[in-house]
């Protein structure tokens, strides 16, 4: 199989996901995805963006063999996707879906997290260790006996993430996982994503429409009409007004604020984060 090496800011990393000439559609006349070619290195945070119906969710579901076979080659963690490798690939990839309610299988938080672990046929001690570690890490250890109906949206999404991380996948896909959450829960999710990125052991694929989430990622894959419209860095995406328009996206708040300040004669660079903007503005305020 094609195990490409890709240069990243941390050096040359092997590709954990390779798609070559991938096309998919229920009706061959109207493909949902058309000739997708992309390699994703280990440890990268890739945002997948694009307008509704452009094939983002279809693309990630193909990686996990949740949809019927597609044309082209899909390779995940060194396994070329075919009937015999589906289970190995599913052990490499974890998916967090949009609606936390619909992915809750167990009657309690504990049962839900154990669902995947029991499927891996792990011994009791290993399950206990993972359950304790990941519920503690995501701050849901006090919710183990709770029914999904008793949890907030953010708590449910944290349970979904814990149940995925406990299976120790190398790749975690978030399919618009923050779109049904309130602001506080979104911030929580961003915190978890940043921690996962800092840990370096996860390759993150994030389907999102949120400018701040895109800005935090390493790379952006923009889809339009089932094809790759751009494969760029977040900064390149936000500098390209036409691409933003095609992807139905807006610049991050900090970028818009910086532009507004620039139009009023205040010299300030386009910041990478809120903190960077504050650091730039702080001395300016004192020099007045």
């Amino acid at each position: 199989m094609n195990q490409a090496n890709i240069e990243t800011k941390s050096g040359t990393e092997p590709a954990v996901i390779v798609l070559e000439g991938v096309s998919f559609g229920y009706d061959p006349e109207h493909p949902i995805l058309h000739d997708i070619n992309v390699s994703i290195p280990q440890g990268q945070w890739l945002s997948i963006v694009g307008p509704n119906g452009c094939g983002k969710s279809t693309l990630v579901k193909l990686l996990n063999a949740l949809l019927p076979k597609s044309a082209g080659l899909i390779s995940v963690c060194g396994h070329t996707l075919q009937e015999e490798t589906i289970q190995s690939i599913r052990q490499c990839i974890g998916m967090v879906f949009q609606n936390p309610d619909n992915q809750f299988i167990g009657q309690t938080v504990e049962e839900d997290i154990l669902f995947g672990l029991e499927g891996l046929c792990l011994p009791y001690e290993e399950m206990k260790e993972r359950l304790d570690y990941y519920t503690g890490k995501l701050g849901i250890d006090h919710l183990l006996s709770k029914h999904p109906g008793e949890l907030s949206g953010g708590q449910k999404q944290r349970v979904a993430i814990a149940s995925i991380l406990a299976m120790k996948p190398g790749i975690v896909i978030f399919d618009e996982a923050s779109s049904m959450l309130d602001e506080g829960s979104r911030d929580e999710l961003m915190g978890i994503l940043r921690d996962m990125q800092a840990e370096g052991s996860y390759t993150i694929l994030l389907i999102t429409h949120d400018a701040d989430e895109i800005l935090a990622s390493d790379r952006v894959l923009a889809l339009h009409g089932g094809s790759i419209a751009a494969d760029v860095s977040p900064a390149e995406l936000f500098r390209d007004a036409e691409l933003l328009e095609r992807c139905h996206l807006r610049e991050p708040y900090t970028w818009r604020l910086a532009r507004e300040l620039q139009s009023r004669g205040i010299t300030v660079d386009v910041p990478a984060s809120e903190k960077e903007l504050i650091d730039t503005l702080w001395p300016y305020n004192y020099s007045k």
């Binding site: 949740l66 619909n102 992915q103 167990g106 669902f115 499927g119 399950m127 206990k128």
Partner: protein, 263 residues
Amino acid sequence: MNERLLLGRSIDTGSWVHKLDPRSKITGMLLYVAIILLSTSWMAMGLLAVFSLLVMATTRIPLKYFIKAAKPLRYLMLFIFIVQALSVKSGDVLWSLGSFSLYEGGLRLGAFSVIRMLFLLTFTALLTFTTTPGKLNQGLEGVLAPFKKLGLSPDRITLMISIALRFIPTILDEAQIILKAQASRGADLKELPLKEKARMLVSLLVPVIASAFRRAQDLVYSMEARGFRMDAPRSRYHRLRWGAADTLFVAMFIALGIAVALL
């Protein structure tokens, strides 16, 4: 907490019944159903009542929860009583009006049917109140295991039950939201005549069923993404252990059965 969430929910009081192996509770329950159906005298019904109340008391779960569990079927019980009382014509005539007569046998059988249903409902509630759904499923899997040889798949049955219990409150909540959405557009179910109510129920069922299918699709994705395969081997975090208390629990029901048969 939402009352609907009581469906299939356990109430943990840490009593001895809670600690029993779910297989012994299911076996006891099956024996209890057989005993109820075999009981045909007031003495037997009295003995069953005393036995049931004693077991319920030892669970330390307040009686009001058991009453709540039986309450939704009160009209069905009343209907069964009336039908039995009016259709059975045995024993002495207690009261008559023209060609219509009320017989002692009809009243007795009507009362027995209601009492049997009450016992059944409260004891089923006892099983679900004292056992978490997960353990109940494991117990059911254990009890059904011998039927594997006949081609039955206990895993499939318990998975179906587990998912149904998990989604009942969610789908009920969704139905409520759709009802409110319809009411906000002037179609309040409460204020409509019966015929209109029936017509409106169709417009409620269609979106609820469509949504249930959507949820089912998402759930399948979630299960498959976590590597789930039907009938594939799985390890167990909570293992079932049959102890002396379980044997004693089942023996209690056997003794009750013998006592009822002797009465």
